[in-house]
């Protein structure tokens, strides 16, 4: 995997992330389309995800629960706005309440992914995350995700640096 590009547009509140994988488009599509594969990479470090609902169709709903190192859980949902196998998908992504259903008043982000064949059996995945407002970003920060995730990511960096 090579991260070929990343850009943060603070004014437009978008994050663009581009990575290339040494596998054909159809194979990379599977990491989204197969819930058992999806849950192996969706969760942040130390927060593995379990998808309890997975409808990869336009208008389809997803539900997942992530379990942290202390046994805490955090639930989320997606609502698919675009599904065009094996090249494009887009969805709204939000937090769920204790019942697992979308939590009212919590920030919702929008994600768009595109998979392109770049030859040699490789695929470029372009991911664009759009945040609804500066206030929404502020809420995400206030929820402590920054501190929590930064420390987990630092641990990963440390592990990688040891290699």
């Amino acid at each position: 995997m090579t991260v070929t590009d990343h850009a943060i547009d603070r004014e437009a509140l978008t994050l663009t992330f581009v990575a290339e994988f040494a596998a054909p488009v159809e194979r990379v599509w599977q990491v989204w389309a197969d819930p058992r594969q999806l849950e192996r990479w969706w969760g942040p470090p130390e927060w593995p995800a379990t998808f309890t609902r997975h409808e990869l169709t336009p208008g389809g709903e997803m539900r997942y629960v992530m379990t942290g190192p202390d046994g805490d859980t955090s639930a989320g949902w997606w609502r698919m706005t675009l599904v065009e196998p094996p090249h494009r998908l887009a969805f709204d992504d939000g937090f769920a309440d204790d019942s697992g259903e979308p939590a009212h008043g919590m920030p919702v982000t929008h994600a768009e992914a595109r998979l392109d064949d770049i030859g040699d059996g490789s695929t470029r995945m372009t991911l664009i995350s759009t945040f609804p407002s500066l206030e929404a970003l502020d809420e995400l920060a206030a929820m402590g995700m920054v501190e929590g995730m930064s420390s987990a990511l630092e641990q990963i960096d440390a592990l990688l640096a040891d290699r």
């Binding site: 995997m1 991260v3 990343h6 943060i8 603070r10 004014e11 437009a12 509140l13 994050l15 992330f17 990575a19 994988f21 040494a22 596998a23 194979r27 990379v28 990491v31 594969q37 192996r40 990479w41 969706w42 942040p44 470090p45 995945m125 991911l127 995350s129 945040f131 407002s133 500066l134 206030e135 970003l137 502020d138 995400l140 920060a141 206030a142 995700m145 920054v146 995730m149 930064s150 990511l153 990963i156």
Partner: protein
């Protein structure tokens, strides 16, 4: 979109264009300081330091409050800075996800 207005961006850049002000921000991020404690660190008057603090305050980079006779300056985790931090974390999250996908694909 509730992005920063041009005026807000201008205020931010203006505030950080000055070395003393950048130094003040760095110090108060580390630990809150009184204006008088800050003034002792720079070869300038108390009033001049106070003025720098006001510029930073207008740019939402620091906040000032009273504690007895002292004015305490704290780093204000203003929306813009938190927003930046969140976007940075999301970028890291996607790096992590891409690495996990890569590991998954390597299994065949």
């Amino acid at each position: 979109m509730d992005a920063l207005t041009d005026d807000e961006v201008d205020a931010l850049f203006r505030a950080l264009a000055d070395r003393t002000r950048r130094d003040i921000v760095a110090r108060v991020i580390d630990a809150e300081q009184s204006v008088s404690a800050l003034a002792e660190r720079y070869a300038m008057s108390f009033a001049a330091v106070q003025k720098h603090v006001s510029v930073l305050e207008r740019a939402s980079l620091v906040a000032k409050r009273r504690r007895g006779r002292e004015q305490i300056v704290t780093a204000d985790l203003a929306a813009v800075r938190r927003a930046r931090a969140v976007l940075d974390v999301y970028e890291q999250l996607w790096r992590h996800r891409a690495a996990q996908i890569d590991a998954l694909l390597a299994e065949g």
